[in-house]
Symmetry: C2
Subunit: 221 residues, 2 copies
DNA sequence: ACAATTATGTGGTTAAAACCACAAAATAGA
DNA sequence: TCTATTTTGTGGTTTTAACCACATAATTGT
C-alpha cells in the first residue's frame, strides 16, 4: 500500500506514513478491488466503514420506487464515501454505491476509530479532526448539487453546473465525469430533453462540446 | 444559561453541566437573540462559529441571481447550522440564514475548539466527536432534501416529503414548519401550482389538510 | 373592531420538458 | 475488420407545471 499517497488524502492529511501504517494494522483496515459497474454497497445496507477511494472512482446514486435514477455525485480517487452512514451506528444507506470505473477501496472502520486503541496510535485524534472537515466538505458538495437542480429550466441547471465546474477546473474548457444519461440523472432531467437543450445552446453560441468535454463561451452573455 | 438543556443537544451530549459551563467560559462562547425575519448570516460571509439554536428556529435558504428562492431546511431548537462552513476556514457561505421565529443562538467557535485549550477542558474531544455525528446527520438531511426534489412531478415531491415526515413524526397526521410559499420553495416548485396539486390530491381523497397540518390517507393507494 | 397586509386558492394561457420512437454515430468485443 | 451494443441526437406529441391575474380568506397591528 502506498502510504505516502494516502498521507496526502484529506482523510489522512497530517499523519506520517509510519502513523498510517501502524493505524491500518492496529485497527485492521482492509482494501478491496471492484470492477466497473460492481455494486459496492446497496440502499438499505448498514455500514460501519468509511470507503476511501484509492484508485478509480465510485458513483453515488439512488433508484426510487418508480425506477427513476438520481445520481448524487461521483467520488474520485482520494475521496471518501459512506462516511455519514459509518459515523451513525445502524443508519441504513439511502443510496447505492457503484464502481464508476475499476477501483480499489480502503475501508476505514469508524467504531474502531472512535475507541481509543491499546497502542494509542498518535494520529487517532488527527484522523477524527480530519473526518470533521471531510464531512463538512461533503456537506458543501451536497449543497452544490441542490443548487444545480433548483433551477426550473434545463438550461439553468446546466449553466449552474457548468459554471461551477469551470470555477473548479480553472478553465472555460471543462471535462465532466458523466455521459449524457448520467448528466441527466445528476441534474434530474430527461436525457433526450437534455440533448436538445445542449444542441440549442450550441446553436446559440453559448457553448461547444465534444463527448464529455464542454467549452463555455463566456462573452455571449 | 440552561446547561442542563444544552447537555441534551446532539452537539453537547455526553458532556456534564460543569464541563459545558467551563468550556463555554474557557472558549468564550457567546449567545445572541434575533427577531423573526432577522438575517443571522448572509451568503458570502465567512464564519468560524457553529450556531446552536437554543430557542425558536432558523431557516437556511438561497436566492439565486434570477431571484428564485430555494429553502434548504429549517433548524429547530437543539439543532445547529453553519457547522460545515465553520469547520473549513475562510469558506464563504452559499446560503442565507434567517430567523424563522424569534430565536436565541449560542455560537461555538470551531478554531478554538480545534486547539487544545490551556485548561484542557475534559469534554473537548467528546465535543469534536459529537461534531462528526452532527455533521453526518446534516449530510443525511441534505440527501433527503435531494430526494424530495428529484421527482419530476409536484405530486411525487409532496408524497416523498410527506411520507418522510409521517415516518419521523410517527403519525399520518403531520405538522410541517412551512407555509405554502415556503413549502413550494423547499420543493422547488411554483406556489400556485403546488396549491392546485394539493387541491387535486384532496379531491382524490389522498390527503386532507388545514393550514400547515396534513393528514395522509394511507389506504387510497 | 377595523383596516391593511399577507396567505391561499383558482381559472386561464403559455412555455417547457417529459415521453416515445427511431436514426445515426460511436464504442467495444470477437 | 466486422458485428453487436451502447450512446447520442432529433422529430413529434402530450403532459405538466410555470406564469399571470385576481378573488377570497386569514392574519396582523392599531
Amino acid at each position: 500500500m502506498n502510504y505516502k499517497w494516502i498521507a496526502r488524502t484529506a482523510l489522512f492529511r497530517g499523519c506520517t506514513e509510519q502513523d498510517i501504517e501502524s493505524i491500518c494494522r492496529c485497527l485492521d483496515f482492509g482494501t478491496r478491488s471492484y470492477r466497473r459497474g460492481d455494486v459496492i454497497a446497496l440502499s438499505g445496507d448498514t455500514v460501519s466503514d468509511i470507503g476511501l477511494v484509492l484508485s478509480g472512482s465510485v458513483r453515488i446514486e439512488n433508484n426510487d420506487i418508480w425506477g427513476n435514477k438520481s445520481i448524487l455525485g461521483i467520488v474520485e480517487s482520494g475521496g471518501v464515501f459512506a462516511e455519514a452512514y459509518a459515523c451513525i451506528p445502524n443508519e441504513p444507506l439511502m443510496v447505492d454505491v457503484i464502481a464508476n470505473q475499476d477501483c480499489e477501496i480502503l475501508f476505514v472502520n469508524v467504531p474502531k476509530l472512535f475507541q481509543p486503541c491499546d497502542n494509542s496510535c498518535s494520529c487517532h485524534n488527527k484522523l477524527i479532526q480530519n473526518l470533521v472537515i471531510v464531512s463538512a466538505r461533503k456537506n458543501l458538495h451536497l449543497t452544490q448539487r441542490i443548487f444545480h437542480t433548483s433551477s426550473k429550466t434545463i438550461r439553468g441547471r446546466l449553466l449552474s453546473y457548468f459554471s461551477q465546474q469551470a470555477a473548479i477546473q480553472g478553465s472555460s474548457k471543462i471535462k465532466i465525469p458523466f455521459d449524457r444519461q448520467q448528466l441527466a440523472d445528476y441534474l434530474n432531467v430527461d436525457r433526450s430533453a437534455l440533448s436538445k437543450e445542449l444542441g440549442k445552446m450550441k446553436k446559440e453560441g453559448l457553448l461547444n462540446y465534444h463527448k464529455n468535454v464542454f467549452e463555455l463561451n463566456i462573452h455571449n452573455q
